[in-house]
C-alpha cells in the first residue's frame, strides 16, 4: 500500500494522513483483485473494494445522497484512468486487461454530491472549535483513503525480480555499471566482474557478500534516484523500494547527494540477507 501524497484543504478531511478527526473515525479502503476470462477469452481485471467509514455525520451524508463514493483507478503506463461513482461502500469494478500494464493505483474518496450542502461536523480536533460548520459544493472531498497499488506483473515482488544481472562486453572487464531506466535494475558487468559475481553467487557461504557490496550499491543508487525526484516512479523497482522504505518507517533522504544516507537505507533494506546473515553464520561457527 502506498500512501497518498499529502494535500491541504481549508476544512476537515477524514484521512489517515490528517489528524483533523480525533474520535477514532476511519475511512479506509480494501481492494482485492482477480483476473476473469470471458467465454470469448477476453481477460478482465476485477477489483472488489470494501470501504470502512465510521464517522456518523459522514455516514449520514452518504445515506442521504448528499455525498457519494468515488473510486478512481489509474495506470500511468497505459494512460488509463477510470472514475467510478457509487452510493455503496462495497462494489466491483471490471477493467479489460488490455488497458492495464505495470501498476494500477486505486483510491477512494467520499465527495459531496450537491451544491450548497452544509455539514456540522463531529469528532474534530479542538483547533476547529465547537460545532464547526462548513458549506460545501459538488465535488469537494470529505474523506480520502490511502492509495492501493496492484502490481499486474508480479504477484509478489522478490528482490531477484528487481535486479537483473547481465554480462556485457561493452563494460570494462573489471567493472560494472547500474542502469535504472527500466522496471528492473540492470547491472551490466564486465567479463571478469561477472565471473567474480558468479563465484560468489554459487557459493552459499559467500553469497551474502553480494548483499553488502553489489546489491547494496544497486539499492543505494535506487534510493538516490528516488531522492532526486527523477522520473522513476513508474518503474517497478521504484514503487517496491518506496513501499518497503515507508513500511519500515525509514525516510528517503532529502539530499540526493548524501550518499551515506542512501547507503544506510540500502544496508537496512538488505540487512537480513547481508550483514546479519554473515554475522549469524560466523556466530554459529564460533558456537559450534
Amino acid at each position: 500500500m502506498i500512501l497518498t501524497r499529502r494535500r491541504s484543504f481549508t476544512y476537515p478531511i477524514l484521512s489517515d494522513q490528517s489528524n483533523d478527526y480525533i474520535d477514532g473515525s476511519v475511512f479506509d479502503l480494501e481492494v482485492e483483485s482477480h483476473v476473469v476470462e470471458s467465454a470469448s477469452q477476453v481477460q478482465s481485471i476485477v477489483l472488489s473494494y470494501k470501504i470502512r467509514l465510521s464517522n456518523p455525520v459522514l455516514v449520514d451524508a452518504l445515506l442521504d445522497k448528499n455525498a457519494q463514493i468515488l473510486v478512481e483507478v489509474n495506470c500511468a503506463a497505459t494512460w488509463f484512468r477510470m472514475s467510478h461513482c457509487s452510493a455503496s461502500l462495497e462494489d466491483e469494478i471490471s477493467i479489460p486487461a488490455s488497458l492495464l500494464d505495470g501498476a494500477a493505483y486505486i483510491s477512494a474518496s467520499l465527495v459531496v454530491a450537491r451544491d450548497d450542502f452544509e455539514i456540522e461536523f463531529s469528532g474534530l480536533h479542538s483547533e476547529y472549535g465547537r460545532n464547526f460548520r462548513y458549506n460545501f459544493d459538488t465535488g469537494m472531498p470529505l474523506a480520502i483513503s490511502s492509495q492501493y497499488s496492484i502490481e499486474l506483473e508480479f504477484a509478489e515482488v522478490a528482490l531477484r525480480n528487481l535486479i537483473h544481472i547481465r554480462k556485457s562486453v561493452s563494460e570494462r572487464h573489471d567493472a560494472f555499471s547500474i542502469d535504472l531506466s527500466s522496471n528492473q535494475i540492470v547491472v551490466n558487468m564486465g567479463i571478469n566482474f561477472h565471473a567474480a559475481w558468479g563465484i560468489l553467487y554459487a557459493n552459499e557461504e559467500q553469497k551474502p557478500l553480494l548483499y553488502i557490496s553489489i546489491y547494496k550499491d544497486c539499492v543505494a543508487s535506487a534510493v538516490q534516484a528516488l531522492a532526486s525526484n527523477e522520473e522513476v516512479e513508474e518503474f517497478l523497482w521504484a514503487r517496491t523500494f518506496r513501499e518497503k522504505i515507508e513500511l519500515l518507517n525509514l525516510k528517503i533522504p532529502s539530499d540526493p547527494t548524501d550518499w551515506n544516507a542512501c547507503n544506510e537505507i540500502a544496508l537496512t533494506l538488505l540487512g537480513e540477507k547481508g550483514v546479519r546473515k554473515i554475522v549469524n553464520s560466523a556466530a554459529q561457527v564460533v558456537g559450534a
Binding site: 468515488l70 472514475s83 461513482c85 556485457s168 527500466s182
Partner: protein
C-alpha cells in the same frame, strides 16, 4: 501483414549498455545511427519472432522539414495505427516493439524526425538521444521521444476521449508542439478525459474555427490552474455538463 521480429529484451539492454559505455560506436560512417542489421551483426544482438503484426503496405511520410507544420505527425499518427492494427495499450508498453521499429522498419523516418548526428551531438547527447529517441524505457519516452511509439500513443489518446469527434481532438493535439507537451505533460489533467473533452472543444473553437493564434503563456497558465484544482476537487465525479462549465470558468479566469 508480416509478423514482427523484435529485438530481445537482452539485446535492448545491451544497446542501453553500449550507449552508455561507447555511444559513438552506434553511429555509422554517414554520421547517423547505424542500421538495425549492422547493429545486430556488430554487437551480437538477437531478434525473435513476436505475436505482433505489421501491415507493410502502410508507410509513414518522411517530414518535409523541421518545422511543426511540415512534420506530418497528424497524418502519420493514423498511418502507424493502421500499420499496427490490433495493438492494445497493455502491449504497446513493450519497449522492444518501439526500439525495433525506430531502428529498423522506420529508421529513415526516425533519422529525420528525431535526428542523432555525430557532427552536432556530443557523446553525452548521443547517449541521451539514443536511450530516449530510439529506445523507449519510460512512459514519457513512449509518448514524447521515440518517433514511432509517440505516433501510436498520440493516436490512442485521440480516440480515448469520449463524446467528441476524434478528428477534432487530433486537429487540436497536432496544432502545436507546446500545446501537446503541456497538455500530456500534466498527467493529472490529461488522465481526466471529462476535463480534457471540454478543454479540447474550447481550443478547437478558439484556434481552429476562429483562427486565433495559440498563446503559449496563456495555455500554460490554464494548465497550471487546472492541474492545481484537479488535485483538490473530485473531478472524476463530475458529469460532462458540470465539467464543461467548470473548465470554462477556469479558462475565463486565466484570460
Amino acid at each position: 501483414m508480416k509478423t514482427l521480429e523484435l529485438l530481445t529484451t537482452e539485446s535492448v539492454l545491451e544497446l542501453k549498455s553500449i550507449s552508455s559505455a561507447r555511444p559513438a560506436s552506434l553511429i555509422g560512417d554517414d554520421g547517423g545511427v547505424k542500421p538495425l542489421a549492422t547493429l545486430v551483426a556488430e554487437f551480437g544482438l538477437t531478434l525473435t519472432q513476436s505475436r505482433f503484426s505489421l501491415d507493410e503496405t502502410v508507410s509513414i511520410r518522411i517530414p518535409d522539414g523541421a518545422n511543426w507544420s511540415e512534420n506530418h505527425d497528424r497524418e502519420n499518427s493514423t498511418r502507424i495505427a493502421r500499420a499496427l492494427a490490433g495493438m492494445s495499450p497493455a502491449r504497446a508498453t513493450d519497449e522492444r516493439i518501439w526500439a525495433t521499429l525506430a531502428l529498423g522498419e522506420f529508421a529513415e523516418y526516425s533519422n529525420v524526425r528525431r535526428p542523432i548526428d555525430r557532427a552536432k551531438d556530443s557523446d553525452a547527447a548521443i547517449e541521451s538521444k539514443f536511450k530516449h529517441m530510439r529506445l523507449a524505457s519510460s512512459n514519457r519516452d513512449r509518448w514524447r521521444e521515440n518517433p514511432i511509439s509517440r505516433l501510436w500513443w498520440l493516436n490512442y489518446y485521440v480516440h480515448s476521449i469520449e463524446g467528441i469527434d476524434p478528428e477534432i481532438v487530433r486537429e487540436v493535439l497536432f496544432l502545436n508542439a507546446d500545446l501537446q507537451s503541456n497538455l500530456l505533460g500534466r498527467p493529472g489533467v490529461a488522465g481526466y478525459r471529462v476535463v480534457v473533452g471540454p478543454l479540447i472543444e474550447h481550443l478547437h473553437s478558439e484556434h481552429i474555427k476562429n483562427a486565433t493564434p495559440f498563446n503559449r503563456d496563456r495555455f500554460r497558465e490554464i494548465m497550471k490552474e487546472l492541474d492545481f484544482l484537479v488535485g483538490r476537487l473530485a473531478v472524476g465525479a463530475m458529469d460532462k455538463a458540470v465539467a464543461s462549465e467548470w473548465v470554462a470558468t477556469v479558462i475565463e479566469r486565466c484570460n
